[in-house]
Symmetry: C2
Subunit: 261 residues, 2 copies
């Protein structure tokens, strides 16, 4: 099944999606960006028709993928005036599909990863989360997703939003803790290099074990002597002391997860 | 340079150290454990002389590596009565070398990793942090360390303690955040599988970039709308709401790292 697809947005997500879809049987018949400079880096093998005006969108494609910033989706959506059989889908994890409900068929085509233009993306390993307004559109979007990724899951709006919160904990917040570790090392002339194998190992372990089952460290051991030593070492930085104490208590309490949803 | 080494402690650290040292030219002339059952799993190719009594330690080795729990180091150390030329070193990240100062030569031989018996350890990639009471002992310990690892760093007691705090942030606390992400997924029937590539990518990025330079997410973008949405999603769990808000603020404040040491 080859689809004619228009990509709205030529940033990192739009570029990488266009590239992956082109390499897997689909045709990118047009790309839109407000900023014409974005088109300069897109080779003709990916797409050779561009516009900076939504009023000039090619009206006859089967699928319109909106790959703009979250805030811009609601602004862009009503300006997409195309054939009534088309599916309009956005690529945002945080945005409900219903912001597109002015269209007859709509959905979500969400690649869970942070992209940068420079780095090649292996879409076959990238999770794609799919939702749609109706069974036929869902089937079409799943087919397109399966043509570029081996990790496709249908998720409802609500599930996708909780996944997005989880990703903030698993990626953004963990990266911040790595930044803190980096700063503690730098301030004490300890090479951050030393921690890198441990960080890799932490990520590797949870590929095969539930994270709680591989939790280590003074908090889970109830080793108050080491906790007190660490708090004393951080005595000049009350912010870090507070965070150390707070996260240690959270590990020991194991929180109450009975009612997250 | 082949050394005769006694390993005090036959737990995971003792076992893996004995194994790596044997494979790299050294002789493990004796192993001690209070618990004789530990010896059953140690093949003769690693060691064939065991004792459960510190009073029966082989007195003529060059190096005694103490691989017991942190609390037990101070109890074990005075009972090590051996030749005065020997180096006595412990393997703890959190314990000062000076708890061994009753010995003429002492030091630290700290492998930064959490071990489990089942899993083979590639010591060549494992960071080893070394300290010693004197230049000659330091040289000997560095030579032994370099014979089994490509990542050997001399670190003072104080640097090693700060490294240990950093490791709590980089490993224990990040693992706890992965546990939280896991729980949010489970409670909402979202497969945790979906997050695994992102977690791997987070660990991979910091191998080549300072963590702060690859920080992403709503907090660093100042995307208050998404932050508010996420807080609303967590409305049934005030503990998680609090943590989400706290870590987001910490990312935005970038903390004050001027005075960690």
């Amino acid at each position: 099944m080859t689809l004619d697809i228009v990509i709205i947005g030529a940033g990192n997500v739009g570029y990488h999606l266009a590239n992956a879809l082109t390499q897997n049987e689909h045709r990118i018949v047009q790309m839109f960006s407000r900023n014409a400079q974005r088109f300069a880096n897109i080779p003709p093998s990916i797409c050779n028709s561009f516009t900076t005006k939504l009023s000039q969108l090619n009206p006859s494609a089967s699928l319109y993928l909106i790959a703009v910033s979250d805030d811009a989706i609601e602004i862009v959506s009503p300006k997409i005036q195309v054939n009534p059989k088309a599916i309009i889908a956005h690529t945002s994890g945080a945005t409900p599909s219903t912001v597109l409900q002015n269209h007859p068929q709509y959905g979500v085509f969400y690649p869970l990863q942070s992209f940068s233009r420079q780095k090649a993306v292996d879409f076959t390993k990238l999770p794609l989360l799919i939702d749609a307004s109706d069974a036929t559109s869902l089937q079409t979007l799943l087919q397109v997703a399966n043509s570029i990724s081996q990790h496709v899951h249908p998720l409802t709006d609500q599930q996708r939003q909780y996944l997005h919160v989880s990703a903030v904990f698993a990626n953004n917040f963990t990266n911040h803790l790595l930044h803190i570790a980096h700063q503690i090392c730098e301030q004490n002339q300890v090479p951050f290099e030393v921690l890198k194998p441990l960080i890799t190992e932490t990520a590797n372990k949870i590929q095969t074990h539930p994270p709680r089952s591989v939790q280590t460290g003074p908090a889970i051991r109830g080793d108050q002597k080491t906790i007190d030593n660490h708090l004393a070492l951080l005595h000049n930085n009350t912010e870090l002391q507070k965070m150390y104490g707070y996260l240690s208590k959270s590990i020991q309490g194991d929180l109450d997860f009975k009612s997250i949803k």
